[in-house]
């Protein structure tokens, strides 16, 4: 009966109730849609790095005066437990020329057989000299084009697909087989990329490096890609929350409007409240009645808003990310649930004060109120 009474009270002031519901719908939609977008954005960015999560990069410990990693150390690393794949990399900045154009590019030397673990090719084969897509674009290179690296001529055998890595930027790189690199430059290794068997074994591998390689003095530093990915997740998570908080202002406005209509309602219904108290309603009953009304507004608005936020998320994703792939993911659903919860909570919180005020009315004053 209390629910019935609440429903009829809401129906009595239809326009007001509908406006309050629309307010909640907009608020919930704003929060959840932005939540979905933030989550999609994070997913789009992380997609680029999904292969590197189990990678570890070992670099010389510059703080202890090491600027390169010698072959003996690399051997030690290759024999460490948990290392599934070890890719020692040499690098040097060198002048690259093709026809009348020239520029300085970072040239990497690594085992030809292992390059396919790090890069995807747009065209060509892994055997030989590989070009980053931006380098290829700059020189207008095709497969088989002749280029000069540090004065020596090579033929382009493959062009690397556009992508992103933290250790080597594939778009601006020139990759040479190790033995060609060694003919041009006389250098030790500048880093070692290690794929660890399992993400959970990264800690253990790090310990092994410190035990075996850094036993006497710290020769190398170990960076986990995982940390970078986690940092990205963290930053994007915070950014999403921040955007949601801004969107939350619209929910705040909805809350204030509910506060307002409920206050109006208590004033308009003063006599009814007095009457109900006179014929045996407890203070809590009046409190419950008003909270029930707000809860109904909150539930209806929040669920409609929640449903519509998939549409909102889809629109923003299509507009900005040009993909709807990440609209329906578990974490999007989580943000929608979050939005719905906030919508209901807002309605209840805003009704708290009016409901409390209504329940505090003395029956006699309410009945005599003019």
């Amino acid at each position: 009966m209390l629910i019935e009474l609440a429903l009829r009270n809401l129906a009595r002031t239809k326009v007001r109730s509908v406006l309050a519901i629309i307010g909640i719908i907009i608020g919930v939609m704003a929060i959840s849609s932005i939540g979905i977008f933030g989550e999609s954005l994070k997913a789009v960015i992380l997609e680029n790095f999904k292969d590197v999560a189990d990678e570890v990069i070992i670099t010389p410990d510059y703080t202890h005066g090491y600027t390169s990693i010698d072959a003996r150390t690399v051997k030690k690393i290759e024999n460490l437990p948990y290392a599934e794949l070890v890719i020692p990399v040499k690098s040097e900045s060198a002048l690259v020329e093709h026809k009348d154009r020239k520029t300085y590019v970072t040239v990497y030397g690594m085992d030809v057989k292992k390059t396919k673990e790090l890069f995807e090719l747009e065209k060509g084969t892994y055997k030989g000299c590989l070009m980053g897509s931006k380098v290829a674009e700059f020189f207008k290179l095709r497969l088989g084009s002749k280029i000069t690296v540090a004065g020596k001529e090579f033929r382009v055998s493959g062009i690397i697909k556009e992508g992103a890595r933290f250790d080597i930027n594939p778009n601006y790189a020139v990759i040479l087989p190790l033995r060609n690199f060694d003919r041009l430059f006389n250098k030790d290794y500048s880093m070692v990329i290690v794929k660890v068997e399992d993400i959970d074994k990264i800690e253990a591998f790090k310990e092994a490096v410190n035990k075996v390689v850094n036993r006497k003095e710290s020769k190398v530093s170990v960076f986990e890609m995982k940390i970078i990915i986690e940092r990205i997740k963290e930053v994007f998570g915070k950014m999403t929350l921040f955007l949601m908080a801004i969107a939350g202002v619209s929910l705040l406005v909805a809350g204030i409007s509910i506060l307002n209509i409920m206050l109006m309602s208590t004033i308009e219904r003063t006599k009814e409240i007095g009457l109900m108290r006179a014929i045996g309603a407890y203070r809590e009953t009046i409190l419950k009645l008003f909270l029930t009304e707000a809860l109904i507004l909150g539930l209806v608005g929040s669920f409609i808003g929640g449903a519509l936020s998939f549409l909102g998320g889809y629109s923003i994703d299509m507009l900005i990310l040009k993909t709807a792939k990440y609209v329906l993911t578990p974490s999007s659903v989580l943000y929608v649930i979050l939005g719905i919860s906030f919508g209901i909570l807002t309605a209840l919180l805003s009704a708290m004060y009016p409901a409390w005020k209504a329940s505090k009315l003395e029956p006699i004053e309410a009945l005599r109120y003019e």
Binding site: I279, G280, Y282
Partner: protein, 223 residues
């Protein structure tokens, strides 16, 4: 039984003080029909609301069935009103969103009675006041007299032993007023409900066993 002992009620309006009741003592026995009469502003309603535990006296005591109401909590007072007292007001005070039947059900809702029992009793009560056929109408689809009869049915919902009526015919024409008064009288005679009727209409005094006259917050003559 209702007993008032030296009841004073003052209202404060800013720095002004209005003395609505100035030392009222009276006793009303079970099953009595008492009319409280007096000019407008004499304190009749104030007296009735104190009896009905809607308000508390500034000093003095109000005893209902020997119980000192000043010692009761708000919750206990609510329960007392709900179970022992029925109110009938000049302005009916029906809930406009509820049908006649639902209005009568309301006190039973607050008491926590199950729906089917509520409805059965509400229907019976509406029959009693002659509105069995109009139970599904909303208050605004009923005449003033009919609304007041719904209010009577509502007042009877939890089988109160006391019926407090504040100018029940004040807004009604003579004919409707008589119907309402006849129902109230019948309840008193047939069911032994104690009735306290507040009015400034002398013609209603015939219904009462006893008339208490009040002026400026004092009982002037109790016969």
């Amino acid at each position: 039984m209702i007993e008032l002992i030296d009841v004073v009620k003052k209202y404060k309006i800013g720095i002004h003080e209005v003395i609505a009741l100035n030392g009222v003592s009276l006793k009303i026995e079970e099953g009595e029909f008492v009319a409280i009469m007096g000019p407008s502003g004499s304190g009749k309603s104030t007296l009735l609301y104190l009896i009905g535990c809607l308000d508390k006296p500034t000093s003095g005591k109000v005893l209902i069935d020997g119980m000192d109401t000043s010692k009761l909590s708000d919750r206990e007072l609510t329960e007392l009103r709900r179970n022992k007292i029925g109110f009938i007001f000049q302005q009916y005070y029906l809930i406009p969103t509820l049908t006649a039947l639902e209005n009568v059900e309301l006190p039973m809702v607050f008491k926590g009675l199950p729906k089917d029992r509520r409805q059965r009793r509400a229907e019976k009560l509406l029959e009693l006041v002659g509105l069995g056929k109009k139970k599904d109408r909303k208050p605004n689809e009923l005449s003033g007299g009919e609304q007041q009869r719904v209010a009577i049915a509502r007042a009877l919902a939890n089988e109160p032993s006391i019926l407090l009526c504040d100018e029940p015919t004040g807004n009604l024409d003579t004919k409707s007023g008589r119907i309402v008064m006849d129902i109230i009288k019948r309840l008193n005679v047939e069911q032994g409900v104690t009735v306290v009727l507040v009015t400034h209409d002398p013609s209603l005094s015939d219904y009462a066993d006893r008339v208490i006259r009040i002026r400026d917050g004092r009982i002037v003559d109790a016969d």
